[in-house]
Symmetry: C2
Subunit: 453 residues, 2 copies
């Protein structure tokens, strides 16, 4: 009987997060205050985030202890297994060994609670009573709802209205966990009311939802804002996954030639890959591949530039790969990958040629995802299918080159509440989509005049 | 850091199923041919099931080897973890230790593939090319779809039309796994066409769907019918779960005072409990509790009698607790528990006072389920919430008695595609429901005149 899965014993779970900022080979460009053009300091962020998380955001300590209270909640589903995709390997018929880390076993079904639990804990410890956030597809909103419930925090989620209507299950999930989920634009904020007055039928956007969540939190001294990706401390919390993967691979006795993750804001990718980036910086030979959608090709076609994190221009300027803060991606089904920017850490590593970005079309990703489900059983999130498409590509290359290869990827979440997307694919309703050059050029006008990194 | 989960290494997974028929303290009443009133022989069942499964159905061997090919597919998600519900314990504030076996980690999200994989394998080995089945809520239909895909069998699922429309995600899941799912009544069978001609708007029923699936399979010599619960061989395949649980509890160093499962046809309950029933028969002190809905109180209010397994009276007569074969349960959300009968094995054990049946109202079960989700994170299937309600009751009794107790229950599946039911509960739309005596008396008229066990 051939081995398929390896588990860590709970006693073997990593007790510290890994902070890549300690090992960056070149300095990162700091976030800038949009008014002054000067680097933002901790005090600038204090109305938005609690100081303990701001300290983590700027820390250069290599290892940061995971608090006991966070660990206790992680153990509800962590450590997650490392699995060998033997049936998918057979299907691809290439000289590859494919391993995947299964982050879909968490209660909301993805990697998102790794940081949601930590953020809820730190906010609670700082005396915060309520968190506000936005969500697109709903993975993040549901993870934060659960985390807030567990630490006794109130939680408000502004969910892009069109998603709220198309994916009612995510909103219901948040309610089961005791959160209030509002379709955005809502009448709860000035920003929302303004949009509703002008466009009563507005389908909403992530940009609007972010504006609502920030406004909703900064108006209340007991509340703070929470973000599910992009920022340094978010990627930090996710590294527990890559650290587990390293221990598990050691048990199996292999080291990957290629490590793959899909990228929207960068958090699931960073979580798995950053510990391997550390190895690479220390001389190990390993390819690290970020898989993004061709409909939102932030790293493959967007420049490395200073830009706002949100459409309403309320955040500091971040040095990152971006398509421009008012870029509106095509309505593909991988809602978690439809973000105009990319985590500054990931962007910096792409710029430094330490990791490689590739773009995949949604039709290609669903083809990979259906083949996966039919051989391995599990139905992947549409986001995760981008990583699987990259795995297929790597396997094909290995076959052409006649070279054996060990591939590791992050199975970032299941697609059980995204089945309408599979239905669209199977009934031939999904279109290939490549962004026209003119559209990118037009979107990038938004960053003209901003400082350059 | 207190232990929460225990895993078996794949090398420790049980390699045999446990057959309770070897240890029954009193003989079970055999299934009868409805025409002759005589016990049915293997040949009577041959048009419906392959002979290798018929042999398992009547076997009295205590241990039956799990084929390598089945084991290989089990390893995609098995062995499943044993978890201690420390957060739920804290909430209940009673002197209990609560352990649960997490069967929700399988690709379709429940225990159902334990037998789906085995049935697909044995049918394939027998030369069958296609399986037909029915499904109510869709858990079984999706599990068999996946299993058929993995063994290269065609699969047709007749899904009760009202469920097909209310739960489109289950149908989509079946399509992802390559099955054909038809709303029943359909125009694919004589039975379906007859109903449609008389009642074009019929919402369908499990009884009609079973008739369609049996007809669809017996008309084609290359096809067979497949059932997801009730029968001996189905419960046999499920015992891998209870056997894993016993090994895991041994690792933890505890033995349960109470073992609990919810019961619709009896398969998830039997899977966890039958190995503990063996212990009990051999002298061990342990309570074994079957939790059923008050809206379909098969064991708590139905007699032990001979009855048909389906509404259309096409099956042999089974000796079981039953509410009568044309009983139509109230439309509660736990679709998997809405069956008029109960597995003959489970019914016999209730009759012999080896296991105890209790009924829970759906409002009470959702209250338990929401408290579970808010403390343990995971959102349970509505069926599973019946088991959690029984856990709560056991904890309350322990508190009253001031007695420490170890409770084990089967977390048979997650509720991520059943969130509309939670929404109904949270918005106050669910009603308490107790079946009136007259209604039971009326339903039981259907078994008047049938042989008695």
């Amino acid at each position: 009987m051939k081995q398929v899965k390896v588990f860590l014993d709970e006693s073997e779970i990593p007790r510290q997060w890994y902070n890549i900022l300690a090992d960056m080979p070149t300095p990162m460009s700091p976030p800038l205050h949009p008014g002054t053009g000067q680097p933002v300091g901790p005090d600038d962020l204090a109305p938005v985030f609690p100081m303990n998380l701001i300290e983590q955001e700027v820390s250069t300590e290599r290892w940061i202890d995971i608090p006991e209270e966070v660990m206790e909640k992680y153990l509800l589903w962590r450590p997650t297994p490392l699995c060998r995709a033997r049936n998918f390997e057979k299907l691809l018929n290439a000289p590859v060994k494919i391993y995947y880390k299964n982050e879909g076993v968490s209660p909301p079904g993805s990697h998102k609670p790794n940081t949601a639990i930590a953020q809820a804990y730190y906010n609670k410890a700082f005396g915060v009573k309520r968190l506000s956030t936005e969500t697109g597809a709903g993975q993040w909103g549901s993870a934060l709802s659960m985390a807030c419930q567990m630490f006794g925090l109130e939680c408000r989620v502004f969910m892009v209205k069109v998603s709220y209507q198309q994916k009612p299950f995510r909103g219901m999930m948040m309610q089961v966990w005791g959160a209030n989920c509002f379709p955005s634009p809502s009448d709860k904020t000035e920003a929302g009311r303004k949009i509703l007055a002008e466009h009563p039928d507005s389908p909403g956007s992530l940009g609007i939802a972010i504006s609502e969540a920030i406004e909703d939190s900064v108006m209340d001294p007991d509340a703070r804002y929470s973000l599910g990706s992009v920022l340094n401390h978010v990627l930090l919390h996710q590294t527990i996954n890559g650290l587990e993967a390293q221990k598990l691979l050691e048990k199996v006795g292999v080291y990957p030639d290629v490590v793959i993750g899909c990228t929207g804001g960068g958090s699931n990718f960073g979580g798995l890959c950053l510990p391997f980036v550390q190895d690479k910086i220390n001389g190990k030979e390993v390819s690290i591949v970020a898989a993004e959608p061709t409909s939102c090709p932030t790293m493959t076609r967007g420049p490395f530039a200073y830009d706002f994190g949100d459409t309403a221009q309320t955040t500091p300027l971040l040095a990152m790969h971006t398509l421009g803060h008012d870029f509106v991606p095509a309505p593909i089904h991988a809602g978690g990958l439809r973000y105009h920017g990319m985590a500054p850490i990931i962007s910096h590593l792409v710029k430094e040629d330490i990791i490689e970005a590739r773009a995949y079309d949604q039709v290609q990703t669903f083809e990979a995802g259906v083949n996966w489900a039919r051989s391995e059983g599990f139905i992947s999130a549409p986001e995760t299918n981008h990583a699987i498409a990259a795995v297929v590509q790597e396997a094909e290359r290995a076959k052409e080159e006649g070279k054996e290869k060990v591939i590791l990827f992050n199975w970032s979440g299941h697609g059980l509440v995204d089945l309408a997307a599979y239905d669209a694919y199977l009934s031939g309703k999904l279109q290939k989509y490549e962004m026209p050059d003119e559209e990118i050029a037009r979107a990038l006008k938004a960053i003209e005049g901003l400082p350059k990194p």
